[in-house]
Amino acid sequence: MTPALRREDVAHVARLARLTLSEAELDRFTEQLGQVLEHANDMSSLDLEGVEATSHPFGLVNVVREDVVRPSLDRDEVLAMAPDAQDGRFAVPRIMGEAP
């Protein structure tokens, strides 16, 4: 059995996932997510030692193609849909502090 989900766990994952939660949301989500994880506990009691993990149902791996230049999306058309663009690039608010 895995430990029950705590309020601070939800606060932590919200931070990791870049979501701001109100106090009321924290309470509600802790309860709701706890129920889903509790349901998932029927898996943790299984002995699956030696069972392979599946990430693709037919085991398709390593699809490759020739390394040749192909047409791609038009840059201006893509940037026209961005919230902000400048000089042919996506523009964002500052990432680091002001230069000295």
Binding site: V13, R18, L19, L46, E52, P57, L73, F90
Partner: protein, 473 residues
Amino acid sequence: MRSAEETVRDVKSGATSASAEVETALAAIKARNDELHVFLYVDEEGARRQADSVDNAIARGDEPGALAGVPIALKDNLCTRGIPTTCSSRILEGWRPPYNATVIDRLLAAGAVPVGKTNLDEFAMGSSTENSAFGPTRNPLDPSRVPGGSSGGSAAAVAADMTPISLGSDTGGSIRQPAALCGLIGVKPTYGLVSRYGLIAFASSLDQIGPFAKNVTDAAMLLEVIAGHDPLDSTSLPEPSPSLVAHVNDGVAGKRVGLVRDLVDGADEDVVRAVDEAAQALRDAGATVVELSIPEFRLGLSAYYILAPAEASSNLARYDGVRYGLRVDASDVTAMNEATRTAGFGDEVKRRIMLGTYALSAGYYDAYYGQALKVRTMMIDAFARAYTQVDLLLGATTPSVAFELGSKTSDPMAMYLSDIFTIPTNLAGEAALSVPFGTGEHGLPVGVQLLGPGRSEARLFAAARVLEIAQGR
């Protein structure tokens, strides 16, 4: 409204035109869209232009395509060039994709006429279409009830005779469950049969695009057009589209069908009765029906609600206010990311992102995600064992007929349980469809589910056709 098959026949013979069919569809949408909230966007101009081009091709004597003049509705998680594509989320409001999903290009090449984009649960996360940021869709058969979800808008479009066919996507039941609740055929194709290029990702190892239709032949026609290898989707099967329409009337004589107790137990009485009657109809058509138990199916819900959120938490990391859609300004880039995501995502999406982030986080990865990947293997093995005894499986699609709006919105776990019978197929990457069979409580349709191994679509359509014939259709 003409079926897709009748439309193609009559458009080719000149008995109708693509333009006339499109006007019929647009008028039907206009008549009921305010009441039912099926379409988020209707592309009248694009639809009329495509219809003209089909009519011109016929006038020139050119082959107009396998879906010539057939109006079609598209779930709004399919990218359509220059046409708003929202995933029913505020975070993509106003975005117009610079490219078409592969399925859209294939539809246009086949002469189909997309008329608009349909409502869904935000990012396809839900089972009732109530999680749309733009308001719920209502079931055309009883507007006090949900159409199911997440492809509820696409199901309602066909059920309300707005279009004869539509496309949805199915990650854990999102085509089959609304098909059942709206009295339609709904197909979850084999994983990789249909290209996912341009399908906005929810859980990439489970997502698959598939058809809704009022009859088996229309569904087979549509699937034939959209299936087949696409180099733009590295998970697409490296093979051409299968022949499906030609096998619709193959029947089930000599076939072995497994009635799976675990896909019936816990369902309402009216649903159980429909499945038993469907089993009898298959017997009457020459199949052998045996009862099976596949206890591994009971683990499907748990594995799914770890795996799908885990993949979603990663896929939805791209909505950061930088490249498309919503941006909520803030002093620095991290604060901007957080303000944007907090304002742009609804509660269910936030729940799943957090659940997935938790299941993938240090200390819990093995207990949840690692264990769920192994359950997925168990599921594949359990299906494979069943298919050594039988050719296809039969069960219920959903535990109940369409439920009332608001009846499950405050309890996520209760909502998740409506996918309990559909999830195993997605985990195994196999094929399944829902076919309406009789009516249940309140005169509402009941869906029965036919399941088969990967690439068994032709066999499933043939069995579904037998069930149609048994109902005099």
